[in-house]
Amino acid sequence: MQALQAQYKRGEQDFYKKFNCKKMSIESCLINLRRLKCTVFILLVCMQTSIAAYSQRITLNVRNIPLETVLDNIQSQTGYLVLYNNELIKNVGKVQANFRNLELNAAMQAILQGLPLTYDIQGKTILIKPSPASQNEANRAQTIQERISGKVVNEKGEPLSGVSVGTIDRTASTQTNQQGNFELNGITGNAVLRFSMLGYQRVEYPANKLPSPIILIQEISNLDEIIVTGYGVQQRRSITGAMSTVKGEDFENMPVQSLDKAIQGRAAGVLVQTSTGVPGGATRINIRGVGSVNAGVEPMYIVDGVQLNSDAPSSRTSTNPLAYINPNDIESIEILKDAAASAIYGAQAANGVILITTKKGKAGKARFNLNYYEGISAPIKRMDVLNSQDAILLRQEALLNNNPSLSPAAALAQALTDMGVRPDLTEEELATLPTYDWQGEAFKTGNVRNIEFNTSGGTDKSSFYLSGSYNKHQGNVTNIDFQRGNFKMRLNQEVTSRLHLDAGANLSMITQNGNTGSQGSTTGSAAPQYTASYMPPTVPIYNEDGTFNAYEGMPGTGFNPIQAATVDDNIVRQRALIGNFSASYKILDNLTFKSFYGIDYRFIRADYYRDPRTPNGATWNGYLIDDNTENVNFTTNQVLNYNTKISSNHSISALLGAEYRSDVREYESARANNFPTYQFRTNQSAAEPYSVTGSWSGSRRLGFFGQANYDYKNKLFLSAVARYDGSSRFGANNRFGFFPGISAGWDMAKEQFLEQANWVEQLKLRAGYGVVGNDQTNNVSSRGFYQGGTRYNENAALRLQTLENLEFGWERNVSANIGLDFQVLKSRISGTIEAFHRTSEQLLFNRPLPETSGFSNVDDNLGRVVNKGLEIDFNTVNVSAKDFQWRTNFNIAFLHNELKELYDGLDATSNTVRVGYPLKIWYRARYAGVNSANGRSMWYDANGNITYSLSSADNVPTKKGWQSDYFGGLTNTFSYKGFELSTLFHFDMGRYMANTMYQVWYNVMSNPGRNTLQELYDERWTTPGQITHIARPVSGGAESNSSTRSSATTQFLHDASFIRLREITLGYQFQPDLLSKLKFSRLRAYITAVNLHTWTKWIGYDPEFAVYGSVENNSGIVPQTMSVTAGIQVGF
């Protein structure tokens, strides 16, 4: 701050002229100002004042009075602080004025009329400044300046590097260095310099009147922001399709491993549901609803132009290809939501496109950044389960209910045996039996660590960005963790003025430890996340010597799941390279050819070792399955870009291109049994080979595309796009599809009738219509195959696997979008309201066949699904005071999904696919509660009559489905001086899920050697006449001649809506004076908490799980972790 003040002395006039004092601290403004004293004397003879109350209206009658005195009077009348420079007004002479009740502005104008002064009102402050005219006059004398230098800083006084500095006639240009300094030679005195940098308001100054320092003010308005669109970039103001943008800085340092988890709640209409809480695990992203019954509903991911293969890398634990990218390397994420925006990607774009742009170097001296955070991850919830005594009583009760002829003593003895306790316990021993906390052992606090380093810099011809990072996140279930080492580089080189090269590489090595079932949902006995809550509380986890209490035939599941999860291996090691290279050549000034090559390469190795000390391993004396998968995904495209301005009013840009993509996955796996001891964990040590398998799968895609954009006076925008795409996945007769899109925008703020209303900066109406395709089906869906892989009596067999369908072709998504973008009141309020209608037809449908044909299904183009929705994105700057800012983003999307038709007039193909209902509607028999007379479960049959025995015919549609009705997020950011606090709430409402984990707890009440929930125990039926919804436990799980009491009925459909406090971050940015002492350009400390609290009605660990991939329900789902991390960022 002292440095700033010193600089101010030198350039005070310019400072007055150009800068807004509000942006600086008042103290610094005051250094050379004399604050006028409030005096009451002042020439009462000539002057009438009314100062009874402060007012913004002025009454003044003066003649030949020094300006200083008049200003003093104004200050008294209005209560405003009037600031000026003594030197400035000393020679102005005397003034005269005569008016009554004049509005402040008019009064000031009247007073200063004819003087070389102007004024500026900032809040409650009136600044007196030299008028521009007087400046120009003063400067006219000057001619040539050999050399101009200066320093550019931001509002906080921090130097800005990489700022473009140039004359507006483009005769000279440079960029600022690390210290924010620049130097230009051969500048004429009347030249005007322009200072610009992305994210800052552009400013221009005459070269001979540069303020020092030059202060760039951060842009609140993002209309001029450059947005990455398909194969090109566009200014935000000219976008006509439906897009959302999430900036990398919005989720910087959030302790998540992949960007999908980071954007949850931040983009309207983009539903992000975490599949499991496994760190680095799978996530389901759904943009504008589910359009398909069987085909993939995942968006397409493109990283710096490279189309990622979004298949799960491994099924041994929950994995996610987006974890290859360090979220902190991301500059921005653009989400193309409607067909008009995404049709350029034709194939695969049906479910939207997510464009990820990583950070690039900026010209200037090299910058270094070090970032480190560390913290803990903790379980978000534990279930309340029974103690040993109650668990034994419950088992005794279940046995007696099943067989009333049993004596209570015999039942107790049996119950004790079932619970792994001596059957002859005395009452006293029983009462003091310890309760072992299995959940406490299964769910533990882990640690989280992230260290990263990056450097960037360059010249105006070349730039680089290099980063390296290490991330570790321990899950909260035994033996689940994630570790990633990541290296990233990006190079840009202008080889000649016409040839530009761009190359990038992202290398990552990920090691994930998982356990049984951590790939998704599980009913594995060895999975602690599944069994810990119902392991018998009577059985110790450890022996007295600290070893695991584990033996085959243990009560309950036969496993000590903590032991199995600890000693077994489920290690997935991924090595991934995402590389891109492109060369752009300017054929003409407005015609560029770009040749792009991208590769997404992965090698994934998984070790699945079953330790001989566990029941699974003991059978084989230990076994190891060693999987190796290699995936090579290559993309190339060749694009011509053309743009022209016909006059200043019309500009046109167009592109034409072709693209080829090939994706090949090869896999091999070997299993061997019989290891000498548990320490041996490679197949070399195994005595007995067991099986070897392998596979090859490949697909190719070829497409041609074109786009034309037209812009009339930044007011009317038109965009047309078309793509012709072929996919090897489709039948020989139907491989190619045509996908056009058209959209238009009209910024009404630019029209005359609104131009007057200068508080409206943008009011853009957009509409778009287009068709996109989906080929997310099996690589060989259309083909009829005999396949190898089976055998009989050790001889190879050929199995008829699939039915041929030569007509199988593209799924088409026709979507219409209408949106309104607005920005008003100097960007204080901005946002988007958007409505869409999306019809998915000729669905890639796994059409069920009568199995008598020898096949259970064939892939076919059938059915139609409609998604309708409304998305609202609302940004406000609630408070923008000198030191305090408060901004809010709120987004919400409402969605309605309906299956409109199937085929052959069918109403339903499977339970959850029914015409006239949303997809994934639950179709189940209705629970009728508990018969209060006998404690038995009752259900309704198809006719609505009470029954004890259900059949498939009793299932009815329930109007409850797993699709969300509405979802979104609320972000609030508060900043006060160097402090910044941001909070993100995420909500996902109106989804009903089958609570299969609750069903398990309900079911195991009847089983031997299990524990269950306290609430089930407390509310179970015990006495005739009791009204409850929890049936009596009965050993074996079913009353005689009845369906199982835990049959999958409406009883287990629960509301999985939730609101979650997803993130809180408190950061402190150290102030420049300290930084300059430490020689740092940036120093920030922060603390971040994730998943601090969840509001939900759901009974279970976590309502958030996405039924997708290997997640079929919530049984044994690894819950999300709550984490708290603290970190520091240093830049120098």
């Binding site: 799968s697 089976t790 001889n795 067999a797 696997q801 199995e851 008598t852 193909t909 015919a953 079913a1038």
Partner: protein, 462 residues
């Protein structure tokens, strides 16, 4: 555009286009191997066709730990066998093989063709007989008001969508006609031939066709045919019948010495040997000499069945107490990791059954043949170490003795439920009796199948 199209041609490396797949003898043989391999599935002989008929009937107890198959033990409605999809997949593969053999590709000799076709016909008969006895009533025991017929009869090959049909249920007579034809054809084509000299029992043979025929005819109460087919089977497999002294040892070998046709399991053939194999289902000992409990042993021997073996019956040696928490349970050790850990070959038809089929046919068809019936049942009794029955035993008592010996000899081999059902007998069991006229005697057709194909009538009350 044709060059673009060519860029999109991807040739897979692990599959072959179905139209050109069966163009060599090796491919045809490999395709037939797949038909055999379907028999290994858990829903077929891998477990269910052996374990569930015992659970549905009166031979078992359930330890309830885990509860897998407990609903079958309790005869809950719908708890039954489900072999629909896998059987029809196998049948379609058979139909395709037979179709190719009508105009065999070059390189296929007549001998090869007959050998393959003979096996294919045998296997089709086996699949249809199993389908018909699970989903429909047997020819001579039916609840007529709710008899909606047998299963659809599929004989045409399907390779593409145009060939898919929506059949209705055939009559049980039509199914039996096909089975008869197939078995006759199989017998004629295979007689005098050997598919695999070292392990003929793992494949169809003339003996297997005749033996299965004796069973099919017994279900059809076509007693004369039972007698003739049993005779021709026994003629072909003379010397296989296990002796008293070799009986237990026979059950400890990978291949049961008296098997006429058995499904072979080599290590790794089970998809889930740890949870679903017959070994883990029936016993808590992983191998004969095991001393520690091993999962799961959830289906054990019922007291009623065990009590019916005389103390000197050699077959009692197959019963042992379980280990660990099954220590007080009686378990059967017919499936005890005989092929490899948790892997056991499964006899589909063996010599003893042929004797018992014929004994029952003699006893039921003609009082004059009771002597022959006694001879046959005594073959079984004497081998078990029991005294032979004499002329004192005749009429219903003789039939009862034959049925008892059938129950005792073939216990835990998947016969009991079907033997009661084909005679229209009720199931008497401690957990609750099941009358023959109850709907739960029949398996429901797969619910989805009746939705997809509305020509199919679902069994009553499902």
């Amino acid at each position: 555009m044709s060059s673009c199209d060519r860029i999109l041609d991807v040739t897979p490396k692990q599959s072959i286009d179905s139209r050109i797949a069966l163009e060599s003898p090796e491919a045809i043989r490999a395709s037939l191997n797949s038909v055999y391999a379907y028999l290994r599935q858990t829903s077929q002989y891998g477990r269910d066709l052996i374990a569930i008929p015992e659970l549905l009937a009166d031979n078992t107890d359930h330890t309830n730990n885990p509860t897998e198959l407990y609903s079958h033990f309790r005869n809950q409605p719908g708890a039954h066998m489900g072999i629909w999809g896998s059987s029809y997949s196998a049948i379609n593969e058979i139909n395709n093989i037979l179709h190719v053999l009508e105009n065999p590709p070059t390189g296929v000799s007549n001998e090869f063709k007959e050998n393959i076709a003979g096996q294919a016909h045998f296997l089709r008969a086996l699949y249809y007989h199993n389908l018909s006895k699970i989903y429909g009533y047997d020819p001579k025991a039916s609840v007529d008001e709710v008899n909606y017929g047998s299963v659809p009869l599929m004989l045409a090959p399907v390779l593409n969508t145009d060939q898919v049909t929506y059949p209705s249920r055939a009559s049980v007579e039509d199914i039996y006609t096909l089975i008869y034809e197939d078995l006759e054809t199989a017998y004629n084509l295979l007689n005098g031939k050997t598919v695999d000299a070292s392990n003929p029992e793992y494949y169809a043979s003339a003996a297997a066709a005749a033996a299965l025929f004796s069973r099919v005819a017994l279900y059809n109460e076509d007693y004369d045919r039972v007698i003739t087919e049993a005779a021709s089977a026994l003629e072909l497999i003379s010397g296989k019948f296990m002796t008293n002294s070799a009986y237990i040892a026979g059950w400890r070998q990978m291949k049961l010495p008296e098997s006429i046709f058995e499904v072979v399991f080599h290590l790794g053939d089970y998809a889930d040997p740890v949870n679903e194999s017959l070994r883990v289902t029936f016993t808590s000992r992983q191998t004969l000499n095991a001393t520690a409990f091993s999962n799961r042993g959830n289906v054990v021997v019922g007291a009623d069945l065990y009590g019916r073996y005389a103390s000197n019956d050699v077959r009692r040696g197959l019963f042992m107490n379980g280990l660990g928490r099954n220590a007080s349970r009686i378990e059967i050790t017919k499936f005890l990791s005989r092929s490899a850990i948790n892997h056991d070959n499964v006899p589909v038809i063996r010599v003893s059954e042929v004797y018992l089929n014929r004994a029952e046919a003699y006893a039921k068809s003609n009082p004059a043949q009771e002597d022959l019936a006694r001879q046959d049942v005594n073959v079984i009794r004497e081998r078990a170490g029991l005294t032979p029955v004499t002329t004192n035993l005749s009429g219903q008592a003789l039939i009862d003795e034959i049925l008892l010996q059938r129950r005792l000899e073939l216990a835990f081999e998947g016969h009991r439920f079907f033997d009661l059902k084909r005679q229209g007998m009720d199931i008497i069991k401690p957990i609750g009796n099941v009358r023959f006229d109850e709907p739960r005697i029949l398996a429901p057709l797969p619910y989805t199948e009746t939705q997809r194909n509305t020509n199919l009538k679902q069994n009553f009350d499902f």
